[in-house]
Amino acid sequence: MDIERFKYKRRLRFGWLLKMAWRDSRRNRSRLFLFISSIVLGIAALVAIFSLGDNVRSDIDSQAKTLVGADLVIESNKRVSSRIRPLLDSLGDQRSIERTFASMIYFTKNDGTRLVQVRALEGDYPYYGSIETTPARASRAFRNNRQALVDKTLMLQYNAKVGDSIMIGDVTFAIAGVITKAPGRTGISTTVAPPVYIPLKYLDSTGLIQKGSRIATAYYYKYNNPATIGSIVSGIEPRLEKEGLDYDTVEERKKNTGRAFENFNQFLTLISFIALLLGCIGVASAIHIYMREKIASIAILRCLGVNSSQAFLIYLIQIVTIGLIGSVLGAVLGIVIQQQLPAVFKDFLPVQVTTTMSWKAISQGLISGVVISLLFALLPLVSVRNISPLYTLRLAVEHVRFRDPLKWLVYAIILFFVAGFTWWQIHDWRQAIVFTLSILAAFLLLSLVALLLRWLVRRFFPTSWNYLWRQGFANLYRPNNQTLILIVTIGLGAAFIGTLYFVQDILISRVTLSGSGNQPNMVLFDIQNNQKDSVAALAKQYKLPVMQQVPIVTMRVEEINKQTSSQVKQDTSSGFRTEAYEWEFRVTYRDTLTSSEKLTAGKLYGPVKTADDVIYISMEDRYAKRIHVNLGDHIIFNVQGTLIPTVVGSLRQVDWQRVQTNFRVVFPTGVLEEAPQFHVLVTRVPSPEVSAGFQQAVVKKYPNVSVIDLNLILTVLDEVLDKIGFVIRFMAGFSIITGLIVLVASVLISKFQRMQESILLRTLGASRKQILFITALEYFFLGALAAATGILLSMAASWALAKYSFNAPFTPHWLPIVVLFAAISLLTVIIGLFNSRSVLNKPPLEVLRKEV
């Protein structure tokens, strides 16, 4: 007999591998599908958000003109000097002017008063797009009459109808129409300051425009040949800048709108990504269990001569296939979801969004999804290469216990991919790394808790308890337990929901708190010099305390340490200071500190007595730091044309939390008394009724005075938070539902794990009730611990956010926490029991034959 020399040939036989993958998956397809269902929603969210991004980007491009409404806009926050007037009047082929200011309006029908944004308009603006109104013709018609357009929310709030009258200052206008949409304005901005349009020609007769009034002016220009805009703008730019005027063109607006939208889009993408990651954890753990069950089959194949790469590939093929199917399903679902997004985000999107299929977005979502889910699946999959054929001989003795360097490589790649994906979205390495590490920390912490629990139960096992309890507890650490995966997924879900809730709570209570006790809750501003005393008297008449009455002078910075704005702009090393030159400061003068202020450096020098005295001002410390100004620095202020040289004499810490007037810059007395100024009065109203009555009295007598009621701020904040909350809940929904799917999948898989055992128990005569109890106990324990850990995590995160981001105290309410805790624990138990019912309802043998 001739003996052939053995020569090793590594052959893959790909066709056969495909066949084996197909065969091997036979009895597990529904389970494989279960694993992958956990990533469907994450991918759907990514595809939908990517598509939205693509759509909005192209919509911004095509709609930028209607956002601006003109070819060129020149804006000013102060009175426009006569030097530049001729230029402004000569630009463009058509011109419109819009003057905007805050004022009270008064609904005559029901005495309602509210602070609004009055926009006095002259000309045919907008030239592109339109102010959309009901009735539609009102948007043009009101310009020629004593009529106004009123924002929709305002109309609803005051139950007003077209044809009703409103008073602005001394003039009564008839409401010509309801604004449904104005150029470039989103839902959020109209909630904060609802617009009311009036014809410019009635502005003077309202009597609202007086010296010191804060009024912004916009000049809108239309060019018959818009192509020339670029060169026109560069020609007039230096002059505009010299006069402190801003300009806006369609191109400019495209850029700015795009930038603002990108931030929003990044936020949405990251939330979708978290949902996907959560799903991936589910996939990894499910495949881990799947592979553990496959050890025997793999060992047999190895015995029969399958090499390690073939064994690995058989399962990789299964997982890639099912991953692809899941991703495609996800993408399809994503396209469906995409159709709903414009409605969901309407208050946040700058443009009317179209929903066209974006192949780029779809493929980006698909690729990201397949890659990340595959990476996670690789974690349990790489072990396949190391399964020895020896298992066929002694199945029970050996366990897969080894540290595979490849596994660490996969971990590293996953981290790198997560960081890379985040960077791709937010283009900032530092933030990307912080994001990745926070997620990692949450995972690690939850895993740690799970491991600790497992260890504790084992260490302090209640041996004296009755059988059912012991069995329930033992399920937490016995082989094939689901402790780790369930605690991580449920815990992350709980942490997510908890954080959302707490943040909303912090924001609301931050405002509510500041209005409690004897804190002021109403501010009257724009009070003229000659109204100062009588407004105070009116307040007293309503038995309201005058808690603060301060003069306010608006001014700009001309020079800091002999450097003008343009010099600073050239010197890039001090670039961050430029904002100081652009800011319009509202400054008061006094010689003492208020209760919300604390001196941190220097001292207050007291009144200025002679014209030669140095004027020592006091600056808020954080702002000073931001613009790099120190004690002793020289600042020249420009008060409506008059230059006032000053020296920084002190720095103050200011508590901005309270409803009262706080200032970045405080002058000493003896300097600004004669400057154009208005006054602010701070008071506390005891009830909404008193507030309404007092506001009506003020508006009737002093129409130029604006009133901000804390209640109004609260309502507005509520509305805004509601809108934001809806978006966050919508996005968090992806994670939460993914968490639920992972939960269902994990529990279902553990069902297979526990099946043998429950059947054994059943065969040994355990009653339905007893098995139910054991199962319920196990899942309650898991659910409760995961929920508790997750909620604690969310509290830690919220506390950190409260302290470092919102500067607010964090005092969580216990009831919602308890409710959340109970809900999550209960849900876990219900899903656990629901999934175990097949064991309970069928005869043991049938289950054995069918499912094992």
């Binding site: 053995f6 009895r27 090499n307 054929p389 066929t392 001989l393």
Partner: protein
């Protein structure tokens, strides 16, 4: 006669809990091609371990194993896998059929791995020989223990192995079924002229082989011809 299996000075030790456990101690024997050998000994004496080493499922701590003149110790795990596929057949105490494959597919796998021709008809012939022509498309879970072991016999012979290892092939079967399976095993073996190595503590089974190797506590204590 040609030597198909040569075990030289083989020892196997396990490192565990700070002590060294010697499971096999300096075992020597050679097997001629075409012969039948049984390895007998009490439980825990190291029979399965020895079989694993001979079949290249594991590596010896000391000594060498040559299978078909190939030094197994020098090969990687993947290379040994290929040796197994080409020259070795297995029968296990607990059958070790792939649960997601039908009886027929289980028999086909070794042939498919080698990329041979007429796989299906050859496998069907084998299944007919073991009397399972009516159960070809059943999954292992749908077969009795004896039927499963017959499938595994068919699979073991499907790649025309030069040597067949069986670890307690009747350990999980009742006496009556055992007898049937043993008969089939020897018949198929006779027909194919395969070298057969059976690990067993069933003396009746052992007595049907030409040679009996006895081990005890890891030592080869007797090597007799029947």
């Amino acid at each position: 006669m040609e030597t198909i299996l040569n075990v030289k000075n083989v020892s196997k030790t396990y490192q565990g809990a700070g002590q060294t456990l010697t499971v096999l101690n300096d075992v020597n024997f050679a097997v001629e091609a075409g012969s039948t050998v049984s390895i007998v000994g009490p439980s825990g004496s190291g029979k399965t371990t020895l079989l694993g080493l001979c079949a290249g499922l594991d590596r010896a701590s000391l000594g060498s194993v040559e299978l078909n003149n190939i030094k197994l110790d020098k090969l990687s795990e993947d290379e040994r896998a290929q040796v197994r596929n080409r020259y070795v057949g297995f029968i296990f105490q607990n059958f070790q059929l792939l649960p997601t494959l039908t009886a027929l597919e289980n028999v086909m796998v070794p042939l498919e791995l080698r990329g041979e021709k007429n796989i299906r008809s050859r496998s069907i012939t084998l299944l007919e020989k073991v009397g399972l022509q009516n159960r070809m498309h059943h999954y292992p879970a749908q077969l009795s223990g004896g039927e499963q072991q017959r499938v595994s016999l068919a699979r073991a012979f499907s790649n025309n192995p030069r040597i067949l290892f069986a670890d307690e092939p009747t350990g999980n079967l009742d006496v009556e079924t055992s007898d049937k399976v043993i008969k089939l095993l020897f018949d198929l073996n006779q027909e194919a002229g395969t070298t057969l190595i059976i690990v067993t503590h069933n003396m009746e089974l052992a007595s049907q082989t030409k040679r009996i190797i006895k081990i005890k506590g890891g030592h080869l204590v007797a090597d007799e011809l029947n």
